[in-house]
Symmetry: C2
Subunit: 305 residues, 2 copies
């Protein structure tokens, strides 16, 4: 089954209203009084989400950061995490623990519990984390309206270049760090939560995630690749060609926040406007005003065989 | 690293007070007002927690039931679950979904969200589930006091015999069902939560779990094997020898509730008294009054290589 087919089947099961139809990255349990409880659970699998030779401390960091990024997109403050961990070789386990300690301390997010198992020999590591947070105003993914502007925090494409560098390409440490040590935009998420019509994090690629926000909202989105913010490091590394701009917009793992604001509203945090929603469904792409055909792959999808 | 070493290392990390020092099976977040939020997260790994030829629908049932059993031990009512699922072959996925639907409907516990990945070829399945519940009174594992009686719901040892049957031994379907379709004691847990000094579920074996409750409480426990309740099916299957009684008390997967009550207090649900806590640490074993040496293995521990 593909992920889409499986999700469709899950939607036929008893579903909590807080699951928001499984169209979102986190569940939001309304409280009798604010704040609401936000829950998210993510898997990291060796060979899929991280490389076998990625240092274990950075894998721990990434596991925490990617889950907290889902909380950030709901404007939530982390309460704690539950860890599912396969005990393998000693050196890896100890380095993982060191990275976990650093991440939890950095994000002020304590451990709540979890489960361990013995890692079966010869199989890839499966790491799981569930994060819980509290939010006063949790924007959905599906609230964008025609006419809204699409904004993104930070810069896009750095982590994709970092992955290439982790795989052996020549490039600066700063880009490698963006791949291995993403920063969840927790403060920005809290500041944006009450003004954004819709918000999500960019985990699978800006074009793919923007197309998901538009589709969930029942509308379409026009994006100009020349507006997608790229870091000076990335421009030095990959140049400024149309292909390089498209590569950045379809690369994953950036963990920036993507959000819809009403026209004319300026975001309360540093961000860049990269597109505009329109009534007609679909994605329209330009590069500095020139129409660009949609690439076959808008980002990273976990549907391969 | 062993599980114990890993847990010890985790205790040095930023730990939420609700984690209760990682000595418990669930985290309990105190609310400003009752009820408290209870969180638990468990992994089921193919070849460790279930057999490769266990039917997929029963694996889904077991994944839900074992997590809800941790909620039951905290007197909690389930709110919902988050699933971590590796997409593998179509037939298994569809049977898993059918079992998930049955379990969620049976326990009145809707899906809140989760994550999917593509199952790497040739590696065992890793399933993860996080359950969230609400509880008005969540007993800890470490609250037993010297003089308290130790009680257990239902019968013990059935699931251990069921595992042997699943592996090819000859035996009745009822025992196999106890292994494949455990029932979380949710109603019993709610009824017991406000009277039990300590409570946990029996997942790894009655002797092992009772020894953990005693150790967490800083006291010891005396258990008489002849008092451990065994089903008529199990007695027919395995006989009534001292060895059979010991086998039942050290078998896992029963998911009954084990709880400490003050002397003289009768539990509000059907249960059997199997022992008594005493001030001196350690486990003392008798069989119908005759002292029995402690076996090397008190239950099922995930610390093998």
């Amino acid at each position: 089954m593909t992920e889409a087919e499986f999700l469709e089947a899950l939607r036929a099961l008893p579903l909590h209203p807080a699951a928001r139809g499984l169209t979102d990255d986190a569940a939001v349990l309304p409280a009798g009084t604010t704040p609401a409880t936000v829950l998210t659970s993510d898997l990291l699998v060796e060979g899929v989400h991280f490389l076998s030779d990625d240092p274990a401390d950075t894998v721990a960091w990434k596991l925490v950061a990617t889950n907290l990024s889902d909380l950030a997109a709901k404007g939530a403050t982390p309460v704690g995490v539950l860890l599912g961990y396969p005990l393998g070789d000693d050196a890896w386990d100890r380095a993982f623990l060191a990275g976990l300690a650093t991440a939890l301390a950095t994000f002020g997010c304590p451990l709540l519990g979890g489960d361990t198992v013995r890692q079966p020999a010869g199989s890839p590591r499966f790491l799981s984390l569930t994060a819980i947070g509290h939010s006063d105003a949790a924007p959905a993914r599906n609230g964008a309206r025609a006419g809204d502007a699409l904004w993104v925090t930070g810069t896009i494409g750095d982590a994709g270049a970092g992955l290439a560098i982790a795989r052996g390409a020549d490039g600066p440490q700063a880009l490698l760090d963006r791949y291995r040590r993403p920063t969840p935009r927790l403060a920005e998420g809290r500041a944006l939560a009450s003004v954004a019509h819709a918000m999500m994090d960019v985990s699978d690629g800006l074009l793919l995630d923007a197309s998901r926000m538009a589709a969930a909202s029942g509308i379409g989105i026009a994006i100009d690749l020349a507006d997608v913010p790229r870091s000076a490091d990335l421009v030095r590394y990959d140049g400024d060609s149309p292909a390089a701009r498209l590569a950045a917009a379809t690369a994953g793992d950036d963990y920036e926040l993507l959000f819809a604001l009403p026209p004319g509203v300026t975001p309360p945090v540093p961000a860049t406007c990269v597109g505009r929603f329109h009534a007609e469904p679909g994605v329209t792409l330009t590069d500095d005003g020139t129409p660009v055909p949609l690439p076959a792959r808008l980002g990273f999808e976990h549907q391969g065989g």
